[in-house]
Amino acid sequence: MTTLGELRFLVVDDFATMRRIVRGLLKDMGCVRVEEAEDGVAALQTLRSQSFDFVVSDINMPNMNGFDLLKSIRADPGLKHLPVLMVTAEARKEDIVLAAQNGASGYIVKPFTKATLEEKVLKIVQKMPPRA
């Protein structure tokens, strides 16, 4: 199975504090390769120019929100394989269903615990094909 230390994560959130929190929690889990982006536009640019294995994204962001980022990733042949874990304050059921229908790999509502993030990340990583 792929180890967390091998994977490169992109954390997308318009609040720098939240990016730091997610980065810190991922680091505690052994994920040492973590980059950040402040909105969907910056995230897409980064994903298209560098190689990543996992995206953790907020939904409510300026310029391009998390739903549009998710759709863009799934529509891009070079990126559509990427796991995308939504971590968001949007708790309406229709938003949760919409994210799932558009290919989100998981959905976490804020505020969340370290244990929840760990559980969801590991669940997704366990389904990933072994790295070549």
Binding site: D13, F15, T17, M18, R20, I21, G24, L25, D28, I59, N60, N65, F67, A89, E90, A91, R92, K93, E94, D95, I96, V97, A100, Y107, I108, V109, K110, P111, F112, T113, K114, T116
Partner: protein, 209 residues
């Protein structure tokens, strides 16, 4: 006696003036109401005004979240400081025993116990530091709520500006972008939101995801 006579003679005049003012205000209010209705801005103003209680509850949410975060941080700091003090005491005692300052040097077994105790307390202190880090999520949650209140204030301002420039009531409604509400301030009585992670997981599982 003389002053009372003067006051008695002034009262009817003041009363008449006050009555005239109230009548005039009443007429102006009626005119304003009729003008607003004719311009068609009453629904917009009503909608904006109805947003005010929502703005109040959102600001209360901000205050509550901020206070809760401060409490969590201070609790975690207290516990971490106590653990740190215990680690310092253990390390100091060990050092004094090893250099012969106090009692006899510790046996290898005692040394192992003390080091394991230090390790355990250090891990507990680290967990408290993680709690402090997680408590900072209030910044994100309250920031989104404040942004929503600013939007509400802007909507109210726009409605009032429209009134001032007497914009024609027939305006094509622009296609509304998807509304993102941010954190749920008060989930009581709502069936359209997931109130915790367990409900999110159940919803997704029920749909086969």
């Amino acid at each position: 006696m003389e002053h009372e006579d003067v006051r008695a003679s002034q009262d009817p005049v003041a009363e008449a003036d006050a009555a005239a003012v109230f009548q005039r205000l009443g007429a102006m209010t009626r005119q304003l109401h009729d003008a607003l209705s004719e311009l068609g801005v009453m629904p917009q103003l009503q909608q904006a005004a109805e947003g005010l209680p929502d703005a109040r509850s959102r600001l209360n949410y901000v205050a509550e979240k901020t206070a809760a975060a401060a409490g969590k941080v201070l609790d975690a700091v207290d516990e971490a400081k106590a653990l740190n003090a215990a680690v310092s005491a253990l390390a100091r005692d060990l050092a004094q025993r090893l250099d012969g300052t106090t009692s006899a040097p510790p046996s290898p077994q005692e040394l192992v116990w003390v080091l394991r105790d230090i390790e355990q307390r250090a891990e507990q202190a680290d967990a408290r530091l993680t709690d402090i880090m997680l408590a900072q999520d209030f910044h994100d949650l309250t920031g989104q709520v404040v942004a929503r209140v600013v939007t509400l204030a802007n909507e109210l301002e726009v409605s009032l500006v429209k009134l001032l420039v007497e914009v024609a009531p027939e305006q094509a409604a622009a296609a509304a972008p998807r509304r993102l509400d941010g954190p749920v301030v008060d989930p009581k009585g709502r069936s359209d939101v997931a109130v915790d992670q367990a409900q999110v997981d159940d919803l997704l599982a029920s749909l086969g995801f």
